[in-house]
């Protein structure tokens, strides 16, 4: 609870800080622009209020100079925007969205969205994710994991629960089974739509232990507002321990011959 307030929640990922920086810079600038303009605006209103006997003096109509003076504030705004684009937006964007950092053994995950929940698919010690097949999807096997495949023998699928080791880059592939959802973890400043038919990679490096929140940021139906889950950032040891306990308790779900017969 103390993670949250009237501004951005705690910053818990490696790029959260740089996103916040941008938000603060641009709001400071906006405030400055607005206040300066506002003062000037009010000053004009007071100074040039209608007074008996005082006629309006018009500047030379349509003279080049008067046309151009109105562009001066623009120059300031333009300069500021160019600065933001070149030195901030482009580099940070390419770091956060356009590339996945190539670190030694990142944690490879799959996150499959559906109405109205998130399934997190962990590869397990072998680091390999078992294949998924649409025809295997079943309430006992929400992501349609093919359990015959050797790669899936040590996989674990969690509903609405994402656990990440501290300081280890996690690369998550986003999928959706039905409609568009959006993976939003405020503390990570991480947001990405999950689009059916597309595979969208996102990455995050948790930098703070704690319990955070997964939410869905894209309207996905009547329970969109209820589509949430928990994020736990743990030490590698705790994470491994938890994983072993899961493995022990996860039974291999029975594979129905025809999934749709249950409906």
């Amino acid at each position: 609870m103390d993670n949250y307030g009237w501004a951005m929640p705690v910053a818990a990922s490696s790029f959260a800080k740089s996103i916040d920086l941008g938000i603060w810079i641009i709001h400071a600038a906006m405030l400055a622009i607005f206040v300066l303009w506002g003062i000037f605006f009010v000053y004009l209103l007071v100074k040039y209020r209608a007074r008996p006997g005082v006629l309006a003096q018009r500047e030379e109509a349509h003279s080049r100079s008067s046309e151009l003076t109105s562009l001066i504030p623009d120059l300031a705004v333009v300069a500021f925007e160019i600065g933001l684009i070149v030195f901030y937006a482009l580099p940070v964007w390419s770091k956060v969205k356009m590339s996945v950092p190539d670190v030694a053994n990142p944690l490879q995950l799959e996150i499959v969205a559906e109405q109205f929940g998130w399934s997190v698919h962990y590869p397990g010690p072998d680091g390999a994710l078992g294949p998924r097949k649409a025809e295997l999807v079943h309430f006992s096997n929400p992501i349609g994991l093919d359990h015959n495949d050797p790669a899936s023998h040590d996989d674990v699928v969690m509903g609405n629960e994402l656990r990440l080791p501290l300081g280890r880059t996690a690369v998550m592939k986003l999928y959706s089974k039905d409609v568009i959802h959006s993976l939003f973890i405020p503390e990570f400043r991480l947001k990405q739509d999950a689009v059916p038919g597309l595979e969208i990679p996102v990455w995050v490096e948790p930098t703070r232990l704690g319990k955070y929140e997964i939410t869905c940021a894209q309207l996905c139906g009547f329970a969109h507002g209820l589509m949430r889950g928990d994020v736990f950032v743990q030490t590698q040891e705790d994470f491994d321990a938890w994983y072993q306990s899961r493995l022990a308790t996860t039974p291999a779900p029975d594979k129905p011959t025809n999934p749709s017969e249950d409906f």
Partner: protein, 578 residues
């Protein structure tokens, strides 16, 4: 003048008020209809505001009116909330503000301001109103139809919109509305290009006409793509095609039977290709209104008339190149985002120029603070807040966090409510004497003004904070997510201000209808204005001008040096000097 299309010399009530061909009657029809749609859209929103502030508690008074599945024992259901949200957006944009700004103000004032006897195609003009009304009514009726109204947001992203109920009616009425506004825009363009009075060169047109001209171009070119997109979505829903449906969908356990092979993102591109120009359609005419009022009440020419016109044209052109700034994290190629980041920053430049011109126009003036002027002045800083908050959204990186939060809601309500709506209200006070030959009551006007401004700021500022705190939009129960709890109090504040805003509309509505009949009679040119619409009787007769006016000078000849009278109407012959 050759103007005998209404046939008989003494037109029947039907011809005069219902199926009238007179641009002024049609304009007023648009005015009243869109006002009512605005109220409806507001009403829907007030229901939602209750749910947002007090989730899970039954809606007072109205709760029981709704059927059990909409609001089980008075508590709003998720489906109902989504339906209200989608309809609020749709109604406000397509049935409220655009018809008011273009259909009402444009229709009534454009021909007058360029000295034309009527629109170029009066029958088409009438047709566009008689498409708009049924389209809008159909949209509202969808609430009563099985499945209820559309529930997929005004953006109607597939696949959700394909599987949700209600969408088919939404699409049908959208197609009708689009057709209506296409007819309108063609009419506006031909009228402005071909029907200007002698001497009314383009550079002598009031800024308002320029705004309408640019707007018409936007409507003409931006709506057809949405029409196409809607047709494709209709096909998906009705004929089970898969334009927007990819392979291997599993919808609530059922594997989707369609052929697949479509692309959900295609719709988003087509939709925003319309919807971004659309947002400038929402704001350009109001900006025109503000310019007219400011020029008139500073008693001096606008500062940088040409700069303003060029800025509007620039905005019009650029607005076709920024659409994907709504899609930064939609899953489209991140490289594309960089392009739209740049265009988005570019488009803010002409907007700044426009605002600057408006502010500089005050310099050296002799400012009359009458009611219309107050609205026009309030527009400037309030739109500025909305516009400035657009910048962090346009910045790809910050949008990662702010996208689809209440920050977006705050942003565009500042531009659209405390911007467009404020300006449009000001326009009502300003041109009411033209419409009815009477003026609206000033005291009520002041109450309406200060109340509305205060409430609007009170409604939408909290949304910006909630956005920064990460509250997503379209949540029918914000308290279901932990990180929203810290700002839930702001939701309550926002809601009470929304109800306050509703109260402060009452004086306006009373004032409007009361002044129609009992308002203080006004002379032909009550504001001592220069533009042509004041050079004919109020209300103008069918055919407008007693004789086609000739234009001798630019639109804003106020306080011309060497003249005793501080305004110089465009149509006044230069000879004699009063």
């Amino acid at each position: 003048m050759s103007h005998d299309h209404s046939g008989s010399s003494s037109p029947s009530f039907r011809e005069k008020y219902v199926f009238s061909l007179d641009h002024k009657v049609i304009g007023l029809q648009y005015l009243i209809t869109s006002f009512i749609f605005l109220l409806v859209g507001f009403g829907l929103m007030m229901l939602m505001r209750w749910q947002l502030a007090f989730p899970g508690s039954p809606i007072p008074f109205f709760g029981r009116l709704f059927s059990a599945e909409l609001a089980p024992n008075g508590v709003m259901s998720g489906e109902f909330y989504n339906a209200l949200g989608a309809m609020h957006g749709t109604i406000m944009v397509f049935l409220g503000v655009v018809p008011l700004a273009v259909g009402a103000y444009g229709n009534y004032l454009l021909p007058l301001q360029i000295g034309a006897p009527d629109m170029a195609f009066p029958r088409m003009n009438m047709m566009s109103y008689w498409l708009y009304l049924p389209g809008g009514v159909l949209m509202l009726l969808s609430f009563l139809m099985p499945g209820g109204a559309a529930q997929s947001g005004w953006t109607s992203y597939p696949p959700l919109s394909i599987i949700n109920p209600g969408q088919t009616v939404w699409l049908l009425s959208m197609v009708i509305l689009i057709t209506s506004s296409l007819l309108g825009s063609i009419n506006f363009l031909v009228t402005t290009i071909n029907m200007r009075a002698p001497g009314m060169s383009l550079w002598r047109m009031p800024v308002f006409c320029w705004a309408q001209l640019v707007t018409a171009v936007l409507l003409l070119l931006a709506f057809p793509p949405l029409e196409a997109a809607s047709i494709l979505q209709l096909m998906d829903r009705v004929f089970h095609t898969s334009f927007y449906m990819p392979k291997d969908l599993v919808l609530l356990g059922q594997t989707y039977s369609g052929s697949g092979g479509g692309q959900p993102l295609l719709w988003q591109h087509l939709f925003w290709f319309l919807a971004h120009p659309e947002v400038y359609v929402l704001v350009l005419p109001p900006m025109g209104i503000v310019s007219e009022i400011i020029a008139n009440n500073t008693r001096k020419p606008l500062h940088g008339y040409k700069t303003m016109v060029y800025s509007m044209i620039a905005i019009g052109v650029m607005s076709f190149m920024v659409w994907a700034h709504h899609m930064f994290i939609s899953g489209m190629s991140p490289a594309l985002s960089n392009f739209f980041l740049v265009t988005t920053m570019i488009i803010s430049v002409p907007s700044v120029a426009l605002m600057t011109c408006l502010v500089f126009s005050l310099k050296g003036g002799s400012i009359r603070f009458n009611v219309p002027m107050l609205f026009a002045l309030a527009f400037i800083p309030l739109f500025a807040i909305g516009g400035l908050t657009g910048l962090p959204l346009g910045l790809t990186v910050t949008d990662i966090y702010l996208h689809d939060t209440y920050y977006v809601i705050g942003h565009f309500h500042f531009v659209v409510v405390s911007g467009s709506i404020i300006a449009l209200m000001g326009g009502t006070y300003y041109w009411f004497p033209k419409w009815y030959g009477r003026k609206m009551n000033d005291r009520l006007g002041l109450i309406h003004f200060w109340g509305s401004v205060a409430c609007m700021v009170g409604i939408f500022s909290p949304m910006l904070i909630m956005g920064l705190a990460g509250t997503s939009r379209r949540l029918y129960d914000p308290t279901a997510q932990l990180h929203n709890l810290s700002t839930q109090g702001l939701n309550v504040v926002s809601t009470y201000f929304a109800y306050g805003l509703a109260l402060f509309q009452l004086p306006f509505i009373y004032n409007f209808f009361n002044s129609m009949f009992r308002g203080e009679k006004t002379p032909e040119n009550p504001w001592q204005a220069t533009t042509l619409e004041w050079a004919c009787p109020s209300p103008p007769p069918h055919g407008n001008f007693p004789s086609t006016p000739t234009v001798h000078r630019g639109p804003y000849e106020y306080s011309t040096p060497g003249r005793v009278c501080d305004f110089w109407p465009q149509s006044e012959p230069p000879s004699e000097d009063l």
